[in-house]
């Protein structure tokens, strides 16, 4: 826990049991990769791991990320601004102790091998994901008619293929870069011929945020925009979606050309926009200053908050909730706001696992699936595992891993209960912070304006139907608060 604020820029250096707060004024204002290289050299340990912020976090942008290993991000909700507000540039860690010991090492390793094999033999985790990366989703999401385009004004993009995982592999891919010990290995390393270094990413969400959502089909621009976000320390979903919102405000005449002066016009499809404005946003310069705190603050400042495609002020990811009803409910109820990864309903609604559901189904069975997905994801997050393992594993598998490691005898129900407890604790925190049922919603466009084209033309997100059923299934009150009896049942009565 880091409390308070340093007087001048610092970084925290942890080496075994030794903790130091060191001066960071020499890296303040530096990009992420330079910061990492400088601090790693300074502590003199090659295997030091570093989490740091870029200029976006230093300048307290509400869409700033905490960056790790140069190109991996704790991206959402503006956590980079929290570090920035403490004048904390980085945390550098050198571990000296081994991993914790399992209750029964032999048994644990046997279960791990079994689950790793399951992932390796899975057609997604062991096939499509490593071969084409996460952007393999571009085409299937577009063909299903839920690939948002031009700030969710429609959800089909005619040029989607040009930015797909297949196109990336053909045009720019150098190699995969698996995270530590990962049997999936989906991450991409790409090369733009004029850059000295290879760059990591982009992932699917980023491809969409700087591609279809901005009306841009040019993968080269997307790769560069992703690289800029990594170096400046931005969340790519929020940064791209904020630009999409600005483009719609410009298209509708709310942002006047005079206001931009000689800065690039915010026209959909203008590839100069992300490359020019991302640094301006990070340093709060020119019109970038207006966009530095995300789409909601931007749209609100023009009197049109409804044009921010966000939930609880967090920008929505790359799937139109008017088509996938379960995902719409997930967006609206996710404790951290408009987020896909805490209950990835695209899996059952479009990709077909762990069970197949029609995306337009809004029955109780679907809503139970949302709840189960949220519970399972909360458990997987708490275990410190990547949620992409959920393409090949499910709750029974995570149960086996936990039991083997700790020597426990948990049932599937016990595991779901752990997830439910986490979900309710987060909800209770939000309620205490002032959030109400009114915050469990989506932009007016997605609830009222029908999808204008594609296979689901005419559809809206039917949240008014699904939300009350969801509250009921969760055992919550009609106003979205948690009854004391529910808190006690989950052993959370202490949280007031």
């Amino acid at each position: 826990m880091v409390e308070g604020k340093a007087e001048k820029p610092v970084y925290i250096y942890i080496n075994g049991d030794n903790v130091e707060i060191r001066d960071a004024s020499h890296v303040w204002g530096k990009l992420v990769s330079e910061t990492e290289d400088t601090l790693r050299k300074e502590v003199g340990v090659d295997r030091a791991r570093i989490a740091c912020i870029g200029p976006a976090g230093e300048n307290l942008s509400l869409i700033a990320a905490v960056m790790n290993d140069k190109a991996r991000a704790a991206g959402r909700c503006g956590v980079g601004a929290v570090m920035g507000s403490k004048n904390l540039k980085a945390v550098v860690v050198v571990g000296s102790k081994g991993a914790p010991t399992p209750a029964d090492r032999e048994k644990f390793m046997q279960v791990v091998r079994e689950k790793v094999n399951k992932l390796r033999n899975d057609p997604v985790a062991g096939g499509g994901a490593p071969k084409y990366g996460t952007a393999v989703l571009v085409n299937i999401i577009n063909e299903n008619g839920l690939y948002p385009h031009r700030n969710f004004q429609t959800s089909v993009f005619a040029h989607a293929y040009d930015q797909s995982g297949e196109a990336m592999a053909a045009k720019y891919l150098v190699r995969n870069k698996p995270c530590f010990a990962c049997p999936i290995g989906c991450a991409r390393v790409n090369k733009l011929f004029y850059l000295k270094e290879e760059v990591e990413g982009p992932e699917y969400e980023t491809v969409w945020a700087f591609g279809s959502d901005l009306g841009i089909n040019d993968l080269h621009t997307i790769i560069l925009a992703n690289h800029l976000c990594n170096e400046l320390g931005f969340d790519t979903i929020s940064a791209g979606t904020t630009l999409a919102c600005a483009m719609e405000l410009f298209e509708k005449g709310y942002i006047k050309p005079e206001e931009l002066g000689d800065e690039p016009p915010l026209r959909f499809g203008n590839t100069e926009v992300p490359i020019y404005y991302l640094p301006k946003m990070a340093f709060r310069q020119g019109f970038g200053a207006k966009m530095a705190d995300g789409s909601y603050r931007l749209a609100e400042s023009y009197g049109h908050p409804e044009l921010s495609m966000s939930a609880k002020k967090l920008e929505l990811p790359a799937y139109d909730p008017r088509v996938a009803q379960g995902l719409g409910l997930q967006y609206a109820t996710c404790n951290r706001g408009g987020d896909h990864i805490k209950g990835y309903m695209i899996s059952p609604e479009i990709l077909g696992y762990p069970r197949k559901f029609d995306p337009q189904d809004d029955s109780e069975g679907k809503i139970e699936m949302v709840k189960e997905f949220q519970e399972t994801t909360a458990l997987v997050d708490a275990m410190g595992l990547c949620i992409f393992t959920m393409f090949g594993l499910w709750i029974e598998d995570y149960k086996d891993l936990l039991n083997a490691f700790f020597g426990w005898d948990l049932s599937v129900e016990d595991c779901l209960r752990i997830g439910e407890r986490i979900w309710n604790l987060e909800r209770a925190f939000n309620i205490k912070a002032g959030l109400t049922k009114a915050d469990d919603t989506l932009p007016k466009r997605l609830l009222e304006e029908a999808v204008p084209e594609g296979p689901h033309k005419g559809s809206v997100c039917r949240l008014e139907k699904t939300l009350p059923v969801y509250y009921k299934l969760r055992g919550w009150n009609e106003d979205g608060t948690i009854p004391e009896s529910k808190l006690s049942e989950l052993g959370l009565e202490w949280y007031k």
Binding site: G128, K131, Y132, N139, E205, F388
Partner: protein
């Protein structure tokens, strides 16, 4: 004719992203494609697939018996994931 769009490994095996085929049901279409593109293609389909007719998954229509008509667009994917 039915317009067929192939993706990921299926496009790689067929060396084509788009093809036009005469077929009246989903299963007939798959059989014809397997004849055209051979054993490797057939094997890939056996590993599972996502089959859309005009953007709707046949799982939510009539499965492999889903009828096809002139001018329909079919999109076929191997199992994929991401996000």
């Amino acid at each position: 004719m039915v317009k067929v769009k192939l993706f990921a490994t299926l496009a790689q095996i067929a060396r084509k992203r788009m093809v036009e085929v005469e077929a009246t049901t989903a299963s007939e279409l798959l059989e014809k494609l397997s004849q055209i593109y051979g054993e490797e293609f057939r094997k890939e389909l056996e590993g599972g697939m996502i089959f859309l007719v005009n953007g709707i998954n046949i799982e939510h229509l009539d499965g492999l018996n889903t009828p096809l008509k002139d001018g329909d667009t079919v999109s076929i994917f191997p199992p994929i994931g991401g996000g």
